[in-house]
């Protein structure tokens, strides 16, 4: 893991970092409640809430029935009337049941009411493939919510960001959707103690480089960094940007990098067509950075397919380090 922070900071897993953020929030603000399926004694399907119920009890760490639409709606109503719910979908796939409340209600209520009320709601979406759980438990739907004005959509890729951005989300007066890649939950990294926030809407340059820009999201950030190390050995100096926020997207950081490198690859796990990389690409292609482009903008996204069960097939449908390496090499050498 490529962290800016001093090495003496203790390490936590991504899941532990999120739990710590929720612990701080529950401890310091009585309005905060956690809601979700099996987040109580079970500790959550991915053990993110863990034992928080033992500390805060079932009124603060609420197990909901298996009722995603209703549960999300309860969270919306609660957020409108004084609570600060953090709602966990057990898998982001199940949020398909709750799109009505997320998109028609949470995202629009403030606007539709002319600013008369806000909906300070945080929702957490364990997302992505790699666990062998097949097509209905492995999707990446962040592009959908990124398309919805009124929402903010983030995808932290490190434990430090996971904690700091969740705490930022809780301070945000509007609904914030957090996509957490399941494969990241066990990844460890340094995490500052206590309360701190990392701003929503700011990308992070994880590696500076001059030959090409790789903009990646979530788990793909780590694959891009691994590829960049290999590329360096071949004399190609890649800049790796962790987008971190899908909505609102950090135009400035991405464009500055492209102006410098002249080449861009977008790496994301969601389906390529109409995925996050489409927006990154289009944002660059319509900007003044277009004039700096020395090559087409390459997108490396998920295959045009649901996620298969068989592990080899499952790997084949999302970008892997060698795919990034190949694409970057071709692009840097002007062969794309």
């Amino acid at each position: 893991m490529n962290m800016q922070n001093a090495p003496d900071i203790r390490e936590l897993s991504y899941a532990e970092a999120i739990r710590e953020a929720m612990d701080i929030a529950l401890g310091s603000d009585e309005r905060v409640v956690l809601m979700g399926e099996d987040i109580g004694v079970y500790g959550g399907a991915f053990q993110v809430t863990g034992d928080l119920i033992d500390k805060y009890g079932p009124d603060r760490v609420m197990d909901t029935p298996i009722s995603e639409l209703g549960g999300a709606g309860v969270a919306v109503g609660a957020a409108m009337t004084g609570l600060r719910p953090i709602f966990e979908f057990q898998f982001s796939d199940f949020a398909t049941l709750a799109m009505e409340q997320i998109v028609n209600q949470a995202a629009k209520i403030r606007f539709m009411l002319g600013g008369a009320v806000s909906v300070p709601l945080v929702m957490r979406f364990p997302a992505g493939s790699g666990t062998g759980a097949a097509a209905q438990h492995s999707q990446s739907i962040e592009a959908w919510l990124g398309h919805v004005p009124g929402l903010k959509v983030i995808q932290p890729s490190t434990p430090e960001d996971a904690k700091g951005m969740l705490l930022a989300a809780l301070e945000d007066p509007d609904p914030v959707m957090i996509f957490e890649h399941k494969i990241l939950y066990k990844m460890r990294g340094p995490v500052p103690e206590g309360h701190y926030t990392i701003p929503i809407g700011k990308a992070a340059v994880r590696r500076e480089g001059k030959d090409l820009t790789i903009v990646a999201t979530s788990l793909m950030v780590h694959k891009a960094l691994a590829a960049a190390d290999d590329l360096a050995q071949n004399g190609i100096d890649a800049e790796v940007i962790d987008l971190r926020t899908i909505r609102p997207m950090d135009r400035d950081t991405v464009l500055a990098s492209v102006r410098k490198t002249g080449r861009l690859i977008c790496v994301y796990e969601g389906v390529k067509t109409l995925g996050v990389g489409a927006e990154i690409s289009a944002m660059v292609a319509e900007s003044d950075a277009f004039d700096y482009l020395d090559a087409p903008i390459f997108r490396l996204g998920g295959a045009e397919s649901p996620i298969p069960y068989n592990p080899e097939l499952e790997k084949a449908v999302v970008p892997q380090v060698p795919d990034i390496l190949n694409a970057a090499t071709e692009l840097a050498q002007g062969r794309l």
Binding site: M80, I109, G115, P149, D174
Partner: protein, 334 residues
Amino acid sequence: MSDPNTPYAIRTYDAETLKDALRKMFLIRKFEEGAEDSYTRGLIHGTMHLSIGQEASAVGSCMSLSDADKITSTHRGHGHCVAKGADLGRMFAEFFGKEDGYCRGRGGSMHIADVEKGNLGANGIVGGGLPIAVGAALSAKRLNTGAVTVCFFGDGANNEGAFHEALNMAAVWKLPVVFVCENNRYGMSTSTEKSTAVKHIADRASAYNMPGTTVDGNDFSAVAEAVDTAVAHARAGNGPSLVENLTYRWRGHSKSDRNRYRTKEEISDWMARDPILHMSALLVEHKVMSEADVAALETETAQVIQDAIAFANASPAPTAAEATRFVYTDGEAA
């Protein structure tokens, strides 16, 4: 007044309260007639769902609510909004898409809310308000505000999954919420017989282990009695109830309705059961008001509507430059 044959409303409320209730019923009727008239004259953009004929349900259901209590409303929500104490001028202004409207012209008829009075808003999504109401009740319970939420919804909405999920959660968590179904026999064109496996929506209360009552929704006193009881039940910490008000909308579903799914006779039968006439008669019979008082009230409320329309007409329209304001709170001036 303690004669048990005396209707609940007469036994329970003082004269001022009863007059105010009738006044609200007049205001709803006249607001909607005014809205209809504005629509016909091309002043309104969009659609419109009128609740004429259902006034007793809206007003009767809000009798024991204070401004701290909440309601969630529906696409057919003008009545609920007035019943909860809204200003008619701001309602018309919203209808006309003006800056003084409750939503500053951004929401229109289907989204009118009056947060200060506890109306969390109409909703364009059938059933959309049901879980939101449960969320408001959850806030009340957790934050110990003592508030109760009344959740209005239609017979059509009772077949949405949201209904099931919301009622179940409210029951499991024993939340202070009253589900008020305004059963006007149709969801758009589809009768309850064709859409709903039970005769009465309140028959479904048993599936959530909560009290369920079906009342004549055109009888103000019957509605008030049922909902007051349910509100008291909720307020005492005993959890949710389901009240079904049997009523009827006189007008089409919206302006595009050809009324092919019901008969003229059915409509006129129900028009003969006008909830406002019924309420007026009740108050006259029990000497709360004279016939002349009622007539005066009618005249007074007609004037309120005229003034409200004038206010709305005079209100400025939002400017296109501000079209995307209010999407996010950040950087927004309060």
